[in-house]
Each structure stands twice: as structure tokens, then as C-alpha cells.
């Protein structure tokens, strides 16, 4: 197979055997010669690649007590809690945190209405410390939209969406503030360095992580500036990569963490920030809607929050469940056309869009929680997935999970003799703590709301279920409903579905994809292997395009995937514009062939969100 291209590239290739291999490859590759797409070393190992012969692959290694992957609410809360405990008990603890974004908060994207419960526990004096919680929720509106009209739904206290006591925040700024608190407490934070590889002890327990290599060219060969990443070893490693982390994906398989839970189900959330006409600005107002433009069998809805930070800024966005069945659906274009609804358009008219971004989020809740501890490590935050879906909040539970992890770890890593059977510490007390905490109670209570959507009446059935069982019984019903299975298995073949006629963007309320991607500030070093790796380069055209009409062209919110005509005439090929990627992870989740494996690009690459 594809090994052979690299063989041909090396000077020693001009032999009879090379030509023989070349012919075999051409024959196996159907009609035209497909230009190679994937060159990443996770698919084509370097120890078999002649271009890497003689390259120094030794890595510098350093030791910490705890290493945390991911500088989001969970990772930072865990780091802070560890250092708080160390200070209280006068113990020394080296905590290192790596984050792929160039600065803390640059890859953070969320609505968001923050429930301050976990923050109150972590920093009771958060207000004095200047936490950017500037917008208490003053008004809470919920609507069912039809194409032209709006049906208001009363926001009764007790319904999961009720936001009394919460704050509208720009989560990126909040996370940045958490990062400052962590640094003050002595956490070593290294933004711009992605954790690319999990390291293992000989006994199979996790030893730590290695950061990404730099200086690999687009074709997978080493450049002059090639440098190996470094190894960070720890007694225990926390993985807080957020929704659908790439290392977590590997850990699930390695340690069989998902054997007793349902496969995770997801949604994609797209978001924009707008500066609106001051006359339309209602600081503290929270608006949610369901219904139009989605049909009753496609889960999703919108949010629109009026921030109160000096200028008339609103954060708005659209969420589409990734268990949708029509391959012609484009979450981006649903978002853009929703803005034309009279109720939404009247707020945005005369305003200016200043930011755009997208991220996948968890929808599975309680039924999809995996085992979260394994020898040498644990999973925290949205990675295992503690989001309360009907509340559409996951930050408070992510923070709390980080804090609980820290509290379980601290006695073990500071003990004289940790009495561990494995070199990397296995700390199941974290999972026990989770089960006794309010996270568990909360997720259990709302466990049936999302799956109740899977009935003939779709959205309306789900709302009735919520109104009857949740509002009255608070989740005490004795049964637990199941989700529909893997999101990637839900697409129907294109020939069974109707293409959707989306309106053209008008350039005032709705916009095209590429100008939106420009507003995410995303960029990557161009000369590196695409980090959207394909296990098999021939599958996109053979399967995704042939059967599903190339759904990745539509579900990617950044225009990474394009089917373009082959230069030689007949047929199409997949072009991957890796530089556009906003690290949302939707492709890895929704690819019907499960052929796409998202891995980290060189650190610092990705979006440059400012308070999203």
C-alpha cells in the first residue's frame, strides 16, 4: 500500500522491485491515480520510513508529580485544587499542565450560562479575585419556533433550563482567569504544547505524555528544524481534553473503559459574537429556542445571550445533534438560516458580527459515562462527559470533576508509600467520589430527557416527557432510556434522503462559510502533515462520497473537507484543507466510515478565540 510512495521518494528507489511495487499499488487503487492525502506518522510509522533513517529520535524527559492534559475548566480546576491542598498541608507538589492552544482560553468555546456552584467551592472569594462573571441572568425566555412565528414556553422554576442565579460568561475569558489563578498558585502551565502521545510503563500503566514533535514537512519527511517533543512523566496523569479527546479515544481502547456504558452521543455547537444596536440590547437576557429550522426528528436548538460588559454584545449560536440522519444536512447553514427568523433577525439587524467558532459537545449524559480511572491516570471534564444536557451546562460539572480528582489524588501522590500495584498510580477513589457527589445526582435526574427524544413525535415527545416526568418526578422514574447508538452509524444513504434547499447568505445576517472561518482566527503551520488523518485514503471517495454524498463537506464548520474534480478529468478526490480546522472534533465523531482520526497538529495551531 501507501508505504511505497515514500520508498519511491528516496534515492535508492530506482530498482526493479520498486517498479514492481509501484505497479501493484496502482492496480489496487482502482481507476485514476489518487494523490496521497495522509502522511502523518501515526498512520505511516517513521521506524519503517527510509527518510527518517539516522534522525535523532531520543526525547528529553522530565518528572512531575501530576501532569494535566488540557487547560480548560476541568484541567485548571484540578491543578488549582491540588495546589490549594498542597498549600494547606504544607507539602511540595509539582503540577505541570500542557495546552495545545497558544494561550489559555484560545480554544475555549461555549454559550455560556455558568452555574457558579463549583466556582463557589473552588474560590469562595471569586468576586474579589476579579473572576469575569459580569452578567447575572435577569430574564429567561424559551420559544418553539415555526418558520414565521414564535410560541413562548413558560420557564417554570424546576425546569432544567431555568437560569436563576446563573451568570452569562465569555468562557474563554473565564478560563484565562482560571489560568492566571493557577499560575499564581505555582502550577506550571505550558500553552502552545500539545500532548501528542500517551506513554506507558512496562506494566501497562500510564507513565505520562509526550508533547508534539515539530518540524515535520507536509509529506511526512523531517525538516531542518525538526525537533522531538518532550516527555513529561508523572505519578498520575489527568486527561482533560474536552469533548471527544484524541488521547482519550486511545485510552478507551487501551483500558476497555467503555465496556459498561453506551457509546457517547454528541452535538455540534456553532457560535457567533455580535455587536448589536444599543436600542436592542437587554443585558442579562437569556433566550433559547427549539423547532425551526430543524424538523421535529433532528435534535437541536438555539441560544442567544445578552452580555453586560460595557458594549452591546450578544453571544448566539445553534446546536445540532450529531445523531441526525440526513447526509444533506449542514449544521452551519441551519445556523445561518435560523438567524433570519423574525424573532432573531430583529435583534441582529444593524449589528456587526465579530467572531465565529464551533465545537462538538456531549449529549449522552449518565448512560454514556465510562470508567474514569485506570492505572496511572484519570479522565476529567467533558472528556468522559459530565454535561447536563437539558440544562445545556457542563462547565460546573467539569470543574467539580477536576476538583474531585485532585482531592482523590492528593493523599496518594504525597504519601510516603503510595502502596500501588502499578508504577502509575491507580486511584479508584476518584470514581467513588464522583458517585457520591452532586454531579452524579444531577446527571441521574436528567438522564431520560435526551433519549426521550427518540420517538415518533421527536422534539414534541421529548418536551412532553420533560414536562411530565422531569418536572414532576425529577428523574425518579425507575427506568433508564437508551440512546440511539453511535452517531456515525445514523446517516441514511444519500439516495434515500432529500437534499435541503438552503437560502443563499445575505451578507448582513447570514454569511458564507469561508468568511466565517476567517473570524475564528484559525491558522496552522502550513508545511506539516494534515492532522485530519485517514486510516485509508481511498475510503472517502469509495464510501463517503459514493453512498452519503460526502457529508463531511457539510458537517465540518470550517470547510476542511472538499470533494474536488481530479485534475486528470474523471472522478473526484478529497481535498483536506487542514489549515482551516477549528479543532471541533465533529469529523472524527460523525464520519460514517469512521476512517478519520483527528490527532493534534503542531502546538499553537488552531483557532484564536477571544472570549468565546
Amino acid at each position: 500500500g501507501p508505504h511505497l510512495i515514500s520508498f519511491l521518494a528516496s534515492p535508492s528507489a530506482l530498482t526493479g522491485s520498486a517498479l514492481f511495487f509501484h505497479y501493484t499499488w496502482r492496480r489496487n487503487c482502482s481507476s485514476a491515480v489518487m494523490p496521497r492525502i495522509t502522511s502523518h506518522y501515526t498512520i505511516f510509522p517513521r521506524d519503517k520510513d527510509p527518510r527518517w533513517e539516522g534522525v535523532e529520535m531520543e526525547r528529553f524527559a522530565d518528572e512531575a508529580d501530576v501532569v494535566i492534559v488540557g487547560g480548560g475548566p476541568a484541567g485548571l480546576s484540578a491543578a488549582i485544587r491540588l495546589k490549594q491542598l498542597a498549600k494547606e498541608q504544607e507539602k511540595e507538589l509539582r503540577v505541570c499542565l500542557v495546552e495545545k492552544a497558544s494561550q489559555i482560553g484560545a480554544h475555549t468555546l461555549s454559550g455560556a450560562c455558568l452555574e457558579p456552584s463549583a466556582l463557589n467551592e473552588l474560590f469562595p472569594d471569586w468576586k474579589e479575585r476579579g473572576a469575569p462573571l459580569n452578567t447575572p441572568v435577569t430574564e429567561d425566555l424559551f420559544s418553539i419556533l415555526t418558520e414565521k412565528y414564535r410560541i413562548p414556553v413558560p420557564m417554570l422554576p424546576g425546569l432544567p433550563m431555568n437560569n436563576h442565579g446563573n451568570y452569562i460568561v465569555r468562557l474563554g475569558h473565564f478560563v484565562h482567569w482560571l489560568g492566571e489563578q493557577a499560575e499564581e498558585l505555582g502550577v506550571e502551565i505550558y500553552p502552545g504544547y500539545a500532548a501528542a502521545e500517551v506513554l506507558f510503563h512496562e506494566d501497562g500503566s500510564v507513565k505520562g505524555i509526550a508533547t508534539n514533535d515539530v518540524g515535520i514537512a507536509k509529506d511526512g519527511s523531517p525538516k531542518d528544524v525538526f525537533e522531538r517533543g518532550m516527555e513529561l512523566h508523572a505519578k498520575v496523569t489527568l486527561f482533560g481534553e474536552g469533548c471527544h479527546g484524541h488521547l482519550a479515544k486511545q485510552l478507551y481502547r487501551q483500558f476497555n473503559l467503555r465496556e459498561n456504558c453506551e457509546p457517547q452521543t454528541y452535538a455540534i455547537g456553532l457560535k457567533e459574537l455580535w455587536v448589536i444596536d444599543e436600542k436592542k440590547w437587554r443585558p442579562g437576557r437569556v433566550e433559547h429556542s427549539v423547532g425551526w429550522p430543524l424538523n421535529r426528528n433532528t435534535y437541536g436548538g438555539s441560544f442567544l445571550y445578552h452580555l453586560n460588559e460595557g458594549e452591546p454584545l450578544v453571544a448566539l449560536g445553534f446546536v445540532v445533534g450529531l445523531d441526525y440522519t440526513n447526509p444533506y444536512l449542514s449544521p452551519f447553514r441551519e445556523f445561518q438560516r435560523w438567524k433570519h427568523h423574525p424573532f432573531v433577525a430583529k435583534t441582529l439587524e444593524g449589528g456587526d458580527r465579530i467572531a465565529y467558532g464551533a465545537r462538538a459537545l456531549n449529549e449522552g449524559g449518565y448512560q454514556c459515562l465510562p470508567k474514569v480511572t485506570f492505572p496511572g491516570g484519570m479522565l476529567i471534564g467533558c472528556s468522559p462527559g459530565f454535561m447536563n444536557v437539558p440544562k445545556i451546562k457542563g462547565t460546573h460539572t467539569a470543574m467539580k470533576s477536576g476538583m474531585l480528582a485532585a482531592e482523590a489524588i492528593f493523599p496518594k501522590v504525597t504519601a510516603e508509600d503510595p502502596a500501588s500495584k502499578t508504577a502509575g498510580l491507580h486511584i479508584p477513589e476518584y470514581e467513588d467520589n464522583l458517585k457520591k457527589s452532586w454531579i452524579w445526582k444531577e446527571l441521574y435526574a436528567v438522564r431520560n430527557i435526551r433519549p426521550s427524544f427518540h420517538n415518533y413525535f421527536g422534539l414534541y415527545g421529548g418536551m412532553v416527557y420533560t414536562g411530565v416526568f422531569y418536572w414532576i418526578l425529577r428523574g425518579k422514574e425507575p427506568w433508564t432510556l437508551k440512546h440511539a447508538g453511535l452517531d456515525s452509524a445514523q446517516l441514511k444513504p444519500a439516495k434515500e434522503c432529500t437534499p435541503i434547499e438552503y437560502p443563499k447568505p445575505d451578507g448582513k445576517l447570514s454569511f458564507d462559510l469561508l468568511s466565517s472561518v476567517a473570524l475564528s482566527g484559525t491558522n496552522h503551520e502550513g508545511d506539516q502533515p494534515p492532522h485530519l488523518t485517514l486510516k485509508d485514503d481511498s475510503i472517502p471517495v469509495a464510501n463517503n462520497l459514493a453512498i452519503y454524498d460526502g457529508p463531511e463537506q457539510r458537517f465540518c464548520p470550517a470547510g476542511v473537507y472538499e470533494y474536488v474534480p481530479l485534475e486528470t478529468g474523471e472522478g473526484m478526490r478529497l481535498q483536506i484543507n487542514a489549515q482551516n480546522c477549528v479543532h471541533c472534533k465533529t469529523c472524527d465523531i460523525k464520519d460514517p466510515s469512521q476512517n478519520i482520526n483527528w490527532v493534534v497538529p503542531e502546538g499553537s495551531g488552531g483557532p484564536a478565540y477571544n472570549g468565546l
Binding site: 522530565d62 497558544s102 508533547t211 515539530v214 518540524g215 517533543g229 518532550m230 491558522n523 484564536a608 472570549g611
Partner: protein, 256 residues
Amino acid sequence: MSPASVFVCLSLTLLSDYPVIRVKPDNSGVVTDGVKHSMNPFCEIAVEEAVKLKEKKFIKEVVAVSCGPTQVTETIRTALAMGCDRGIHVEVSGKDYEAMGPLQIAKIFAALAKKEEASLVILGKQAIDDDCNQTGQMTAALLDWPQGTFASEVTIDGEKVKVVREIDGGLETIKISMPAVLTADLRLNTPRYATLPNIMKAKKKKIANMKPADLGVDMVSRVEVLRVDEPPTRLAGVKVETVDDLVAKLKANGTI
């Protein structure tokens, strides 16, 4: 006598090629809060050149200098991680930082270069947020030192420096005596990555702190920004079918 110390003067800039920049609502400037800042790309090239010269043993010590608020120490650390020996952070913040321009920076760099007896001062040719292209030249003038700007190749030859400069007409080679000021252009080198182990080691290297007043520099700006506006939105183009149509349209709007 090979030069003792080389000063690399760094600038922290708004990365203006891809993050989203917008004008402040009061048109007084550009919103910088929360926007991604990092070392100016031309300054990275300058650091790389200085470190290369040290590795080739032409110079003994490389000092990284930058002016600005606390954020700037991260930039100096990156320079230290790339191979500089020590850093100097000249603290300028608040209103002084907003008003700070090439002249104030040049005064600071000139004062420091004299104080520390530098033999070479290397800067990036211009900052990519303001594109002034003035600091290097002003620094040389204040010091009354020769300057080799837009350098695409630097060779040290005893007491002199041979500089190949990129100019509009092609390449110009000059020989100047040290002490001198050089500014780095794009093709001078490809900067190395600041790897994580080096960032960690850089935490142990010294960064000295000082204020412009310590160097006798007054930060008063003689430039007043009246207004900042977004560029006008591009108007849609008009397609014409024939050459006659084109000529008619050009006549109609007064172009010909």
C-alpha cells in the same frame, strides 16, 4: 577582538495576519484585550541570527531586550529558550504603553546599548502590527552607529560586518564597522522552534527589570493618533461583456 555582547531587541506584536482585529467603538485604536500576542516574526529571525552567531563563536553573549507590560516577559522567555543568555525587560505599561512608538523604543534601546557596551544591536526590520520600519534606523541614528538594514545575509569579518541587504533593485552588499545596528529581513534565516525543555530551562535564566526613567528616557510621544477606522468595505465588481462596454463604463465614471 570579537564582539562581546549582542543585543537582540524584540517587539511583542499583535499577530495581525490571522487573529480577528477590530477597531474600538470610540475609534481611538484597535481592541487588544485578549487578542493573541506573540513575538514579532522578524524579531524571531533576529533572535535566530544572534544565536547562530554565538554558536559560530563570533560573539560571546546574546541579551534579549523588550519594552512593554508584563506580557512581554513571555516573549523574552521564548528568546531565552531559543538560545539567548539573559534578558532585560523595560517596563512600560498603561497610557505610556499605548503611546509608545518607534522613537521612544529607539531611545530606550540606544540608552541600553550604550550602558551595556553592546557591539551589535539586531532587530526585526519592522513590527507586523504597525509596519513602521523605523526603530532600527532611529536606534542607529541616536547612537551614531552604522546600520545594515533589511539584512538577508550577515557575515562577521574581524572588526567589520558584511551585510547583504534586500533592496527594491535587488541585493546590495555593504561593509560596516562595529559597533553597528542590523535589522533582519525575511530571508535571513528560518528561526528554530522554542522547544518545551528549552522553555523550562529558560525559566532559570535571568531577566532584569527596569523602567525607562532608570535609563533617563522620557516617554512623551510627539505623535497624537486622531482616529482609527476600518478599511472601507470592498465594493462589488462589475462584469462587462465587450471591450466597447468597458470603454463606455470607464468614460462614464470619469476614469478616461
